[in-house]
């Protein structure tokens, strides 16, 4: 129970702790994601701040009981605002030997292990690669081990319910949730309500899960074995209505919100790819919002269709992950040349090539920046956390529409699949990001000049089919300034190249300065972007907790950079750039500002831990 370890007092029955991180781990088939989500929701409703980290095996289902088949869900709950799912879990629920083996090394010193002993048979031990049973060989002595025959107990609980055998075992995840619910004194209702709602149509399953859940809870209440419960008080979060949201969900909702804020119908075209597919799934559910989802034959068709819809006057959106973004690049370049608004979302995963499809990484930044032929600048916006994806999406759409340009929005697998509480925004505060369509001639003799730019934004007018008198043609060949006719003139090409560049550069004046979260007198600044937000801020807090000074900038806009960035960086003796890549933002700021920044590169498919940032900062401040 990191940040406030208070569990070493055996006298008390219920202990107050500030934070606790629990990891549910089991086989892919054991329902651990569900277990984690249920515990999370109950904690959310109880009022804790929280952060989650689902970690599931790569795409293919691995054989039951093996290490590659292990699936886990970590949830960090706290009585104060927290930022990461916790560096080390305090509690590990291990449903089988493989889950124990795969996760043990992460567990906090002297942490608690809750073990489903029924799964520790010969067969499973061998599958997990254990030669001796770890429950017997003393290898867990440094931990507090609680052995629970969950399968037996679940079966017993279900006796008479009509559900038995293998089917009964399916409910064992609810048994585990029940036990943890007791141990951490969560309310029972949210989970019971969820079960009732979800399985309304399957009364047998409903009854079974309820029984298992209660049995788990009751085991805690009634047995000697568990001497302790822990209580994590509600966190004093800012007042408001909260929900628990994943990044993909928030992003999908952000797309709908952007359509409303722009007063445009949304056209979302996509080809499924991990970890972006859930955005498609979410949007497909909401036809009543008028959202058109189009599952294309491939990524090129998806971005092509979104571009066609943009030409038609819709908010054209497409989402993918790295391999798909690579495929879309030629079409993005067409969007850039035709200067049509288009929102391209990249939920980054581990690369290169197919890489680590279910893991997280931030290594597509340079591709977003430079992955097109010719001079083809475009704005890049990033989301920093699951809930932040909502606002980031609206902001990306705002820029696309106002500046008539494709925009790349970077999220990542960690943001996309993990969850955190989100204070619901007041939708009346959504910015008005609508832009008027051109409806009349803008040239001499009532002609329409599709490349006559707005003098302030340098955006060209958006004249959509159906508008009388504005019939015009656009395309990928170099355009003549103002008229948009094809032009091979050398001077015009240079002028247009500069105009496209200036238009994007000019957005810097239309975005907020980077916020410098600085201690007076700090000499080290840490510069981050994207999903490392939580870990960096938590790391910074720890450093501050040690009485040291540090400054922090977290970027939403990666192209153009905020106007004050160069100046801000130059004020610090050392600049640290932690990234889940080999130093991509680092290269950009070096080239842009000639600042001798230090990179902190982590490429493990895993998010930063607060402790890692803390340690690195200590070293630099040192």
């Amino acid at each position: 129970m990191s940040e406030a370890p208070t569990i070493d007092n055996p006298e008390h029955e219920t202990e107050q702790v500030h934070t606790v991180a629990i990891r549910f781990a089991g086989d892919s088939g054991d329902g651990m994601q569900l277990a984690g989500a249920r515990f999370t929701d109950a904690s959310a409703i109880f009022g804790n701040d929280l952060s989650t980290f689902p970690n599931f095996p790569a795409e293919i289902r691995a054989p039951a009981g093996t290490l590659p088949g292990v699936s886990s869900f970590q949830v960090h709950i706290a009585d104060r605002d927290i930022l990461t799912p916790g560096d080390q879990p305090d509690v590990l629920v291990a449903m089988n030997p493989a889950a124990l083996k795969a996760n043990l090394s992460d567990l906090a010193p002297a942490g608690i292990i809750v073990i489903n002993t029924d799964a520790f048979d010969e067969r499973n031990l061998t599958r997990a690669g254990y030669e001796v049973n770890p429950l017997d060989d003393g290898s867990l002595d440094a931990y507090r081990v609680l052995k629970v025959p969950m399968e037996e107990l679940t079966k017993t609980a279900l006796e008479g319910s009509g559900v038995k055998g293998r089917d009964a075992l399916r409910s064992k995840n609810f048994f585990a949730v029940g036990l943890m619910t007791w141990m951490f004194q969560r309310p029972l209702e949210p989970t019971l309500e969820w079960i009732a709602d979800k399985f309304a149509a399957e009364p047998l399953v409903k009854a079974a899960n309820e029984l298992a859940f209660r049995a788990g809870f009751n085991l805690g209440e009634t047995t000697e074995m568990f001497r302790h419960t822990y209580r994590v008080q509600p966190a004093p979060l800012p007042p408001g209505t909260y929900t628990n949201v994943t990044g993909n969900q928030a992003l999908a909702w952000g797309i709908i919100a952007a359509g409303q804020a722009a007063r445009l119908p949304v056209f979302y075209a996509s080809y499924p790819i991990t970890p972006a597919s859930d955005i498609l799934h979410e949007l497909a559910r909401h036809r009543n919002f008028g959202v058109r989802t189009f599952q294309a034959e491939d990524e090129i068709a998806a971005v092509g269709a979104a571009l066609g819809a943009a030409f038609a006057g819709h908010l054209g959106v497409t989402a993918t992950s790295g391999p798909g973004l690579a495929l879309k690049s030629e079409t993005i370049s067409l969007a850039l040349m035709t200067e049509l608004p288009l929102l391209i979302i990249d939920v980054q995963r581990g690369g290169p090539s197919t890489g680590l499809p279910t893991k997280t990484e931030q290594a597509d930044l340079l591709m977003a920046m430079y992955g097109r032929h010719g001079e083809s600048p475009l704005p890049i916006v990033s989301a920093s956390s699951p809930s932040d994806a909502f606002e980031a999406t609206v902001e990306a759409a705002r820029i696309a529409l106002k500046y008539m340009t494709p925009v790349i929005l970077l999220s990542d697998g960690y943001i996309g699949t993990s969850a955190e509480p989100w204070r619901l925004p007041d939708l009346n505060d959504l910015p008005d990001i609508s832009v008027p369509f051109a409806i009349g001639a803008n040239g001499p003799d009532a002609t329409f000049l599709p490349y006559l730019r707005d003098s302030r934004t340098l955006a060209r007018p958006w004249a959509v089919p159906g508008t009388p008198g504005l019939e015009h043609r656009i395309g990928g060949l170099e355009k003549e300034d103002v008229t948009g006719n094809i032009s091979y003139s050398p001077d015009n090409h240079e002028r247009m190249t500069l105009l496209r560049e200036s238009k994007i550069a000019g957005i810097a004046a239309d975005i907020p300065d980077a916020e410098v979260d600085a201690d007076e007198g700090a000499e080290v600044l840490v510069l981050g972007w994207g999903s490392s937000y939580g870990a960096i801020l938590a790391g910074v807090r720890r450093v501050r907790g040690r009485g040291l000074k540090v400054a922090r900038i977290h970027l939403r806009h990666l192209n153009p950079f905020p106007q004050n960035l160069g100046n801000a960086l130059s004020r610090y003796r050392k600049v640290l750039v932690p990234e889940l890549n080999r130093g991509q933002l680092w290269r950009l700021v070096r080239a842009e500002y000639l600042v001798d920044a230090v990179r902190y590169a982590k490429v493990q498919g895993q998010p930063f831990k607060a402790g890692e940032i803390e340690a690195k900062l200590m070293e630099m401040i040192g």
């Binding site: 969820w194 068709a301 066609g308």
Partner: protein
């Protein structure tokens, strides 16, 4: 979509210089299309031409309507987005045999199976014109070009067969020189609900001259041109003395006198099975002998964007129009005071 607006061909001309080689078949097709657009009666503002890259793909610049000159091969994808977003528009794709069948093959077949309401004009000159004369996926085997100096070793597609294999609901073939026939086919395609593939044999007089001479030459055409007319016997020849029979799935050319007119196949473009149309498409594999032209197939099937629209209506009828506030609160909320 149709209005009182009445146009002449000139109304569809633009101020852009037409930049095809003198004598190129594209000019004729442009004239036919402009003429047809004037007849079609759709308001100019509601017409969109989308193209890829190639000589043919320059087309939108010369049509006074909305237009996008896209990138190579992607026009069907772009047009699909357009048409699905705005079903009230009249969306036309212009593409070459390289653009549509080589790099763009995947988008072509998928837009056909989805039956999105786009009309795809495939200018088939059996060559890559714009890049100066390489063989294309419709070039005949053995063709010597810059990229195949010893003769191409690719077996070509038959665009009509491919479209039928891809579940197209409307498939036709016509010839640049025959403007009346082209216009008639355009008209039928326009009236068809859903996607349409129209293969237009187009002469590239610079890199593949006379490729279609068997169908356009004064002497040759009467011998070789098989007009498919819905509801009529498939007969051809200077004196309509030859005909087509389909037996066991195979179409064959016969002398009508040998077999009797009753045995001759009656063309039914609306046949429930695509089998007969496919059989007819196999009569020729390139315009080198007797070759059918006309509408091979024209059948009804739900149009993608109409069904999508329907789902939106149904969802709204059931759940009401979207309420964003309710949506973001839908996964359960709690209140912090």
């Amino acid at each position: 979509m149709t209005t009182e607006a009445r146009y002449t061909r000139q109304d569809f001309q633009t101020d852009q210089e037409v930049r095809w080689c003198p004598g190129c078949g594209d000019y004729t097709i442009l004239a036919s299309v402009q003429n047809f657009m004037a007849e079609m009666g759709v308001d100019r503002k509601d017409i969109v031409f989308v193209s890829g890259i190639g000589c043919a793909a320059r087309f939108p610049y010369y049509m006074n309507a909305y237009g996008m000159h896209g990138i190579h091969g992607r026009a069907p994808a772009i047009a699909s987005g357009l048409a699905v977003a705005r079903p009230e528009l009249s969306v036309w794709v212009v593409s070459g045999d390289g653009d549509a069948m080589s790099i763009g093959g995947n988008h072509l077949i998928h837009s056909l199976r989805r039956n999105i309401n786009i009309k795809i004009l495939l200018f088939n000159n059996q060559i890559y014109g714009l890049t100066k004369g390489q063989y294309s996926p419709t070039s005949e085997t053995g063709k010597r070009t810059k990229s195949s100096p010893m003769g191409s070793i690719d077996f070509p597609f038959n665009p009509v067969s491919l479209a039928l294999g891809a579940e197209a609901t409307f498939v036709a073939r016509t010839i640049d020189m025959d403007r009346a026939h082209t216009t008639e086919i355009l008209n039928q395609a326009y009236r068809h609900r859903g996607s349409a593939l129209i293969e237009i044999y187009q002469n590239c007089n610079v890199f593949n001259d006379k490729a279609f001479i068997q169908l356009t030459g004064r002497e040759e055409r009467d011998q070789n041109r098989i007009n498919l007319v819905h509801g009529e016997k498939v007969v051809f020849g200077p004196n309509r003395e030859r005909g087509v029979v389909i037996e066991g799935g195979t179409a064959r050319i016969v002398e009508v006198a040998d077999i009797g007119i009753d045995a001759i196949h009656v063309h039914d473009a609306t046949a429930p099975s695509a089998g007969p149309a496919y059989a007819l498409s196999r009569l020729s594999h390139g315009p080198f002998g007797p070759t059918p032209v006309g509408v091979f197939r024209s059948v009804d099937r739900p149009v993608y964007e109409e069904t999508l629209q329907q789902q939106i209506h149904d969802a709204q009828a059931k759940k009401g129009p979207g309420d964003l506030g309710a949506l973001i609160a839908s996964a359960g909320t709690w209140v912090v005071k």
